[in-house]
């Protein structure tokens, strides 16, 4: 049952992403991407990572995509412009390069001999113990990094009078 759900959600994710990258209208692309991220969050939930699934919805679909939408609307980039539309020949080489990478990864994954499954369910308790005991220093570094990002964004976004 859960396996079928995984494949259905995988198809939804891929279709949402394809629609997002081929869409001319930036706002529509963002909405398709939010759909894709929601189904990816459901996949994370199926892979016994409920906390990551929640953060995916809250941070990615909630905060990051709304930030994109906010910038698009603030700068008035919402109109699809035919001038900036990529031509067909511009799709050919990127598709070729991406296809080569995709085929190589799929070949490695298919030829991989999987050892017997030794997995156990990961509870949020295990996750938290590892997060705050083993990787406690990394949490501090992340807090510093977010602080630097706030300072940098404020510096770049301030009004300049010298122009």
């Amino acid at each position: 049952m859960e396996a079928y759900l995984f494949y259905i959600l995988a198809v939804v994710t891929v279709i949402g992403t394809v629609m997002a990258i081929t869409e001319q209208h930036p706002v529509h692309a963002i909405v398709y991407l939010v759909t894709s991220f929601f189904s990816l969050a459901m996949i994370f939930f199926l892979l016994s990572a409920p906390l990551i699934a929640m953060f995916e919805v809250i941070i990615y679909a909630g905060a990051v995509m709304v930030l994109f939408m906010f910038v698009i609307m603030m700068l008035d980039l919402g109109r699809p412009s035919e001038a900036s539309r990529p031509f067909l020949r511009r799709w050919a080489l990127p598709m070729l390069l991406g296809g080569i990478i995709l085929v190589s990864i799929v070949t490695v994954a298919v030829n991989h001999i999987s050892s017997p499954d030794t997995s156990r369910m990961i509870s949020i308790n295990d996750f938290s113990v590892v997060l705050f005991r083993k990787y406690g220093v990394a949490i501090e570094i992340i807090s510093m990094q977010l602080l630097f990002a706030v300072v940098g964004a404020l510096y770049l976004g301030r009004k300049r009078d010298d122009r």
């Binding site: 990258i21 953060f55 990051v64 994109f68 298919v110 156990r120 590892v130 083993k134 990787y135 990002a149």
Partner: protein, 102 residues
């Protein structure tokens, strides 16, 4: 583990390829370029979470959380840069930004 790890890696590879194609094709629009980077980072997160579920270790989920924190910092800085460049040149076309000086 509900599905084999190979299927998760194939899904992540498809997502990564789509993100790469998005980044390479939409070189003229900074917003779509950033969206392509987001898709690629999501594919990386999927590999980490899948590996964590496969081996029953929570470390992969911790790394997925760190990728998320890194992405939020990156997106806030990059969008501040987009606003700044749009204010200066009135465009989000990457080809417009060829000079390092004013």
């Amino acid at each position: 583990m509900i599905v084999p790890l190979e299927h998760i890696i194939i899904l992540a590879a498809v997502l990564f390829g789509l993100g790469l194609v998005c980044t390479l094709v939409w070189r003229t629009n900074v917003i779509m370029l950033l969206i392509g980077i987001e898709i690629m980072l999501n594919a990386a997160m999927l590999v980490f979470v899948g590996g964590s579920a496969r081996w029953g270790m929570p470390d992969g989920q911790v790394f997925a959380l760190m990728i998320m924190a890194m992405t939020s910092a990156e997106v806030s800085l990059a969008l501040a840069l987009v606003v700044y460049l749009h204010r200066r040149r009135n465009s989000v076309d990457v080809d417009e930004f060829r000079e390092l000086k004013d």
